[in-house]
Symmetry: C2
Amino acid sequence: MNKEMLKLGSNRSIIRELFEFSKLKKAELGDDKVYDFSLGNPSVPPAKEVNESIKYIIDNKSDTYNHGYTSAQGDNNVREAIANDLNKRYNTSYKKENIYMTCGAAASLCITFRALVESKNDEILAIAPYFTEYKVFVEGAGATFNVVPADLNTFNINFTELEKTVSKNTKAIIVNSPNNPSGVVYTKENLIKLASFLNEKQKEYNHPIYIICDEPYREIVFEGNTVSHIPSLYDNTIVCYSYSKSLSLPGERIGYILVPDKCFESKELYLACLGAGRAYGYVCAPSLFQHVIEACASLTSNMNEYKKNRDLIYNGLTKIGYECVQPQGAFYLFMKALEDDAYNFMEKAKKFNIIVVPSDNFGVKGYVRLAYCVSTETIINSMKAFEKLYKEYNK
Amino acid sequence: MNKEMLKLGSNRSIIRELFEFSKLKKAELGDDKVYDFSLGNPSVPPAKEVNESIKYIIDNKSDTYNHGYTSAQGDNNVREAIANDLNKRYNTSYKKENIYMTCGAAASLCITFRALVESKNDEILAIAPYFTEYKVFVEGAGATFNVVPADLNTFNINFTELEKTVSKNTKAIIVNSPNNPSGVVYTKENLIKLASFLNEKQKEYNHPIYIICDEPYREIVFEGNTVSHIPSLYDNTIVCYSYSKSLSLPGERIGYILVPDKCFESKELYLACLGAGRAYGYVCAPSLFQHVIEACASLTSNMNEYKKNRDLIYNGLTKIGYECVQPQGAFYLFMKALEDDAYNFMEKAKKFNIIVVPSDNFGVKGYVRLAYCVSTETIINSMKAFEKLYKEYNK
């Protein structure tokens, strides 16, 4: 068998491993005694229209429509609904032909990478801190994964490092804002600077360099911050979206790829995405949930819950003495570990039944990620444990 | 972008293209004037328990359970339910650890291929006639696709050709019975002969050669015929299953990979499958439908409908004068075209609003595939058109 795949299957994502650990621990101690901040599994229920739509569709439409194959690119009506929703919000003029329905953001990314990559020399960059699976997806598509080191002060884009990292082999750069794991929203100034830098580099190397926006957290953003629509700032932008977080449907695997007309050879690029989806066995996105999205494209879960959690956890932790950047979006907080080795810190936290993810997997050392998409009680109850953990280091 | 992916996206599967053509034609002429036999989209509704389960789950379980992430390998309860169901039917002793929930049979196959393939030298074989997308999936996983030419008399396994095709590079052979496109069920004698042949070859080459069973049609089988459980006949068997056809849920993308303990290094192979799924971006199988399958694992749609259709179409066509092997399972009929060039025949059929798929894509020349998972009326109404088509060739 393939040794690389065996390795990927054996050294599972640490997040998933912690999730399994937490399930065991909860079974042992009870749900309320384990403070599991490991997984980005939304705690806020979907908009009520989601379950209502499911029932409505089942009761009123035919089984073939509900559960049958759609076109590979997705049902026409859902793609139109999504294009219309984007157009309203971003003053754009997308059509259904720009949208390819997928099985979630991971599928969107893998398919986009596969569509773009021609050889192992092609490099796809991520900006640290970055979502740990990017490396797996990029290498899975046959490209080389490369990292732009973090700006540890702001966790925005580090342009000094970016200039050093971009080369003639750069095929694309992944932009993930609101960011997993830092919760930071890249400023519009930063994104404009990125666009102008990449435009220069495209000229210099005489080939397109794509921005691939991984934006599942687009709608989870707190007061005063706005998420820029990057295709309006930079032509060669492909958007990979998922309803996992905004509609709290992570298990349903439903999202899309947006290939705007302004992309270089956009029609061909769209077709190459369809081809890559075909080669990976993605026949179509789950049909019932395509129809649900048609009804719910403009809705989100109640995002105020995350804001409340953000305030509770950020204020609570900083009051104890922990250091962290205030999250502006998503539902993650990136906290400085109390020792250099984030793995050791994670292990110590486990002793207090606190489950956090060490930052090494996100391309930064010495931090941990807390996914605060948990019940408010979990956050409140966890504070005593965080205090004890802090005291361990400050005896 | 990647030229190979662009090609795959541009030269779409002919089946999907005919499906799109048929949609346009139906919009023009009305549904009842187009006899579309192109797509294996089940016409029989799902067992009523499917929609009932959806509603029950939504009304009685939590949103996080219903729509949240499951473990990558799938929810424990559904995997247990599937293992139990298999054990009852095949007198086996599978456990949940043998089952990996996937987004349907295409995903199962792509993931299995990727898990096995180490280099371009590895060959994966299909037995003609074969499902046209195998080539795409095998090559997508980086292996060489090779075909065992058909036994045109029975459409069972052609052993003379098999011996010529198997080599030291053979990594696996795909077995698809009941067969798409022929509707033939491989006899137990043939499968035992295959097992003994492969056991010899494994010894000769000193490495495992896997049978990969693609069995979405396992439950669609007509009187007198039985589908053998191949893992009971041959140790190195991996089963790729989907509920698309048996439960009429092709759009929902729900199925599994079964890696029996008897497989060589089965635990590692299972992990390599998980790794391949991860590299392809399959985070988990759609969660709501995992729970639905837990409730419906032992059920099927009403298969008598396909039997009725099989009799109508087989008897009708042979009465007119067409030649075809009587289908024993699945919902396809493989008919000899009335000229050598199946594409020309397809085009002529289109003029009578009959939509059939030319056999060249299935690895055999001069036939067409008819998917008779359509309404009984479509079959009855189509007969006049088939008569006219026949007369065109026999003036």
